[in-house]
């Protein structure tokens, strides 16, 4: 029954999603985004038809458990220089970002 319901995201919903995803959306993109996301949601809502009341959620597919390591330093073979090489800007070995707070 859900697949007949249009979801109808509001402009505020789109703004909020943009904020949560840390992306900027231009005002003139919003209408298209509303439409696109609505159709995605309508499609995904078909899944609501499946009865899952007797199923445990599948959080893992490997069947593994208790994968742990000893409390020891591991040499990953990566220097500070290599690790920081993709950082846009470094100052005195700190990572430089836009001012927060």
């Amino acid at each position: 029954m859900y697949n007949n319901v249009m979801v109808n995201l509001t402009r505020e919903d789109v703004h909020r999603l943009a904020m949560l995803s840390k992306i900027t959306i231009a005002e003139d993109e919003i209408a298209q985004m509303q439409k696109d996301l609505d159709s995605v949601l309508a499609y995904v809502e078909k899944l609501q038809d499946v009865d899952t009341s007797n199923l445990e959620p599948t959080n893992q597919v490997t069947g593994l458990k208790n994968i742990m390591r000893n409390d020891e330093v591991i040499d990953y073979g990566m220097s500070q220089e290599v690790l920081l090489s993709n950082v846009p800007e470094v100052e005195k070995n700190y990572i430089k970002t836009k001012r927060v707070l």
Binding site: I74, R99, V100
Partner: protein
Amino acid sequence: MAKVSQDIRDKYTVTIGIECHVQLKTYTKLFAGVSNDARGAAPNTLISHICLGLPGALPVVNAHAIELASRAAFALKSTPSTFSTFDRKHYFYPDLPMGYQITQFYDPIVVGGKVHTNVDGTPHIVSITRAHLEADAGKNTHPAGADYSLVDLNRAGTPLLEIVSDPDIHSPAEARAYAHELFLLMKYADVSDADLFHGNMRFDVNVSVSTTDELGTRTETKNLNSFKSVEKAAEYEINRQIALLEKGVKIDQETRGWDDGSQKTTSQRGKEQAHDYRYMPDPDLPPIELSDDFIARVKETLPMMPDEWRATLAGLGLDASQISVLLEAEVDNSNVEYLLILKNNLSNKNYAKQLANWFVNIEIPYRRDEANNPRILAPQKPKLYKAVYDMVEANKLSSTSARNLIQLLLDHEELPDNIEQYATDQGLVQVSNTDELEKIADTVIEDNSQAVADIKSGEMKALGFLVGQMMKLSKGKANPSIAQEILKNKILS
């Protein structure tokens, strides 16, 4: 801010819940084999592809963190969960390179628990909602005047245990007592260095007030790092909220910070949209299933907790304040081992009692006085105290001399081989030898004919005076009770 009057305050019920982040004492981070000791390390030297959240990096749980969290479960009068999982909590901040924090949302490692506290002699129980493992974030600094921030990820990934209390706390004093008891529990269970000064334990205090049965709107004051600031921040928030409500102003649900300088809480982030962390199970981290064997083994290795010690020490005749002095002193200095020594001697109640008294009345105050320089190491102390105890039992030391001897010996890095000989050389051993004491008594009787006459006429106060004279002549070494017996015999029979 003006304090509200007691009349007005009494109209309101105060409700407080506390979240405490405890840094676990592992060598390496929660999900990476990288050293955990960020103190004094140069920026971004304790990092890896995992700490930076680089694509493809695979976090692997530190087994020791699981063990420490399990110990903490027992300290909180709970049991570690046989099944727990890790989840991702999403938010954006520069100190969180992955864009999410790995935590335990759905199945935490500790569910339920209790902390027993005591406020001015009234016992109080705070229920624990849960405690979960999570990775700490990095550290931002904001250079003055600059238009940028600097991020150091040394701390990113440090294992934290977040302990969440039920809203069972109803006054600032109870909040402080709870925070302090958590500190003792984490210290005694040996799961954290619990160094508050270095942020090993950080408290977030949720406060609300209400005149009805329904809870009021709460504020959360974050990152308190002392028991005193927990108490003061709670007190401040209670007054602030009541003052606003009395003026008809609604309380904003918000995060606040505590400023130690001004002793005030201030709004940190304005009213913002409710958080939407989009928790999801972390597919990189398989669940943790603890066996009954493992859980039993952890329980076995747990030492006596503060509660058990309070009962034991009360049984040895210590009062509440002495007990508190001893339990605190134990964690002040890792080299004192008061409780281990006591524990090893509990079968001899007399001796244990004497030890507890000497710790509280002699060693602890002696160490507190900075003019002193005790150099003894804990493993030598059983020998020291046993020797002094045996001499006291054999009437060879007065209580004053015992104190002097203990203080002298505490300064030794190596104890003298023969402690009794050392005490004799220091002139501390009592003369119980009757021949010697009789000679002294004869001299005293000869020199004090008036006192002797008084005693003969029933004036027993004079006997004390003569004992004092004997102590003086013997330079304090005469055993006073034997001296008194000898004097009585000589004068009255």
